[in-house]
């Protein structure tokens, strides 16, 4: 073996092996093997839900609302969710941001024509609402078209958001049933208030 080959063969082989291994690792995504980066909360994202009815709508509103609130608070959606889950009490800024976020979410779904007719919400809300039987029967007796005309879903939901005790809900995020119940109660209350207003206006 020539002296030059003796001098260069092993370093050459070592360099080739190192370059080959590092090259394959990087080409296979070695530099990008890192945790998922939270998306920018201020960038629009589409949300869907596996649930139907009020539960599904609630989830969509919450997802959009938390995004909007996170954007307002200049944090990621995930960071805000974790903060809310870990705190005993939400801050005033968080409560305000979430309420405004939910209102913006209603507006966004309305603009996208993605809100269900109010008659669908009313039926479901009445099923689970603790309501005077006579009042419930009276509301059920109304044709869907009357309810849909009289109660735009957007108005019902905005009223529901206003009725919500956001602070209480954020303080008890673990209880999924409580959240749903709160939304359903708020929807029923909104329907009653809306109906009352309409009747009062008619009179």
């Amino acid at each position: 073996m020539s002296p030059l080959l003796r001098l260069g063969a092993l370093p050459g082989l070592a360099l080739a092996l190192v370059a080959g291994v590092a090259g394959v690792q990087v080409a296979a995504g070695g530099g990008d093997f890192r945790p998922l980066q939270p998306a920018d909360a201020c960038v629009d994202r589409s949300v869907t839900s596996q649930a139907d009815g009020i539960e599904g709508l609630t989830e969509q509103l919450v997802l959009l609302g938390v995004d909007d609130a996170a954007c307002t608070l200049d944090v990621s959606r995930e960071a805000l969710t974790l903060e809310l889950a870990q705190q005993d009490e939400p801050t005033d800024a968080q409560v305000d941001a979430v309420r405004e976020g939910l209102r913006a979410a209603v507006q966004e779904l309305a603009d996208d024509d993605a809100l269900p007719p109010s008659s669908e919400l009313v039926d479901e809300a009445l099923d689970s609402a603790d309501l005077n039987a006579l009042v419930a029967a009276a509301i059920r007796a109304l044709p869907d078209s009357v309810i849909d005309d009289a109660l735009p879903t957007e108005d019902v939901l905005l009223r529901a958001v206003d009725e919500l005790d956001v602070r209480a809900i954020l303080s008890d995020l673990d209880d999924a049933d409580a959240l749903n119940t709160a939304v359903q109660e708020a929807v029923v209350q909104a329907v009653r208030d809306e109906l009352t207003d309409r009747v009062r206006n008619l009179l």
């Binding site: 092993l10 070592a14 291994v21 296979a28 596996q50 959606r77 870990q86 673990d174």
Partner: protein
């Protein structure tokens, strides 16, 4: 008889050097069983390397060296006794004390065994066997420790060493006395100063190899949540590749400095490869480990030869190489442990946010998501400070049959996020290790240049 004595001494040398990293895979079990802190458990490793590094040179003092049989026998006996004490240690403090004593005995055993192996086989073969036993022991330590921990317990690591060491005591005493080397007159001894360059390279490589031998097993067991046995089998690539280094060097016959330089480059490249895994699949660690093992095999034994070559007393120069390598390991642990500990802590937030994102966007009914989020939150809180095991959060989750596939996918995705976060947390430490190996490469160049200047001057 001659062969058995040689074999027992060789195994003892391998065991003493394997003990440098043999407990790495057992650390999580020790942490739990001895109710210790992470720092205390780290001292099980640090104490051994520190005492071995500090006492190797004093163990090779002339007066001690004059009685190699006694030196080796006493050293091996202390090593055996201390190993038994390690196995019986009821607290972490006792274990650390026993490890110090084990390393002290090990220092004398190593120096004495070198002299006896030269007496048995002659200078060339004796030194070669001693060096090879050390390299293989260092590389194979974590593998042996992991398999014993998984199969029996961490105590088995120490118990298994006792019979070999106990048998090596009479074996050491059975070797015929070595006649004093003619070169060991005071003037010559004074003129053969330790080779600073090679020992500095050895120390830097020792620090770099800590990243491979210590951090890799931690990543596999603690980070990627594999059993010690799986981790042990995985890291067995390093000793196997180290064994392939000699035939490769014989084939290409490079000059010694070039061989060491190539070894340093391979270690650095292997550590860069470990820093950049494309996934947590164990196969991605194989090629980088092979580079590290090949580099270790090429560099460490060549450095040891070069530091001892033509120098008397050989035991003292051998002791300097042991001292340099193990103090390098201590420096490596001291530098890398705080870095990866801090990085692991910093990885908690992005990992939790990634988990939150996946749960929020999971194609599951909202009620199931909230239940799962609650369970995950509890598990993450319970397991704070360690890489969490998330399967418990899924175990109690009751979902509709049609959602089971989505839940399984989500669980796999969350585990993947943990793997990603942990792998990223180890990245800086591996890259620092690679930097240390490149620094070692630089010292090879400097030492070679200085040697060339000295040779030119002496010719002039």
């Amino acid at each position: 008889m001659h062969r058995l004595v040689g074999l027992l001494l060789t195994v003892t040398v391998g065991l003493v050097l394997a003990d440098s990293a043999i407990v790495t895979l057992a650390l999580p079990e020790m942490l739990e069983e001895l109710d210790a802190t992470v720092t205390e458990v780290a001292w099980v490793l640090i104490s051994y390397n520190l005492v071995l590094g500090v006492f190797a040179v004093p163990a090779a003092l002339k007066r001690v060296r004059a009685h190699p049989r006694l030196l080796a026998a006493v050293g091996i006996a202390v090593f055996a006794g201390a190993s038994a004490w390690c196995a019986a240690a009821p607290t972490i403090e006792v274990l650390i004390a026993a490890r110090c004593l084990q390393a002290l005995g090990g220092a004398f055993a190593l120096v004495g065994a070198l002299e006896l192996m030269v007496a048995l086989w002659g200078e060339r073969r004796g030194v070669a066997t001693w060096v090879t036993a050390g390299v293989v022991g260092t590389a194979a330590g974590p593998v042996a420790g992991g398999l014993l921990t998984e199969a029996i317990s961490w105590q088995a690591i120490f118990v298994a060493q006792v019979p070999f060491a106990a048998l090596a005591v009479p074996a050491a005493l059975a070797v015929r006395p070595v006649p004093a080397a003619p070169a060991e007159d005071p003037d010559l001894e004074a003129s053969h100063r330790p080779v600073v360059g090679h020992n500095v390279t050895q120390a830097l490589l020792g620090a770099a190899l800590t990243a491979a031998l210590f951090l890799l097993v931690l990543l596999l067991v603690q980070g990627w949540r594999h059993s010690p046995a799986v981790a042990a089998l995985t890291v067995s690539v390093i000793p196997v590749a180290a064994l392939a280094a000699r035939p490769l060097a014989r084939l290409l016959r490079p000059p010694p400095d070039v061989e060491v330089a190539a070894g340093c480059l391979l270690v650095a490249g292997g550590l860069v490869g470990l820093a950049l895994p494309p996934s947590a699949d164990l196969w991605w660690t194989v090629a980088p480990q092979a580079l590290v093992g090949l580099g270790l095999g090429l560099s460490v034994d060549q450095l040891t030869y070069r530091a001892m070559e033509g120098r008397q007393p050989r035991a003292r120069h051998a002791a300097w190489t042991i001292s340099a390598r193990h103090l390098g390991v201590v420096v490596g642990l001291a530098v890398l442990t705080p870095v990866f500990t801090a990085d692991l802590l910093a990885a908690e937030e992005p990992a939790t946010e990634a988990i939150a994102a996946l749960v929020i966007d999971a194609p599951l009914p909202p009620g199931d998501k909230v239940s799962l989020a609650r369970a995950l939150g509890e598990h993450l809180t319970e397991q704070r400070g360690q890489v969490p095991e998330l399967s418990g959060a899924f175990a109690d989750l009751e979902v509709a049959a049609e959602d089971e596939a989505a839940v399984s996918t989500l669980e796999a995705d969350l585990d993947d996020q943990l793997d990603r976060a942990v792998s990223l947390a180890f990245r800086d430490s591996y890259l620092i290790g690679a930097g240390l190996a490149l620094l070692a490469l630089l010292t090879v160049g400097v030492t070679a240049a200085a040697g060339a200047v000295t040779r030119r001057r002496s010719v002039a």
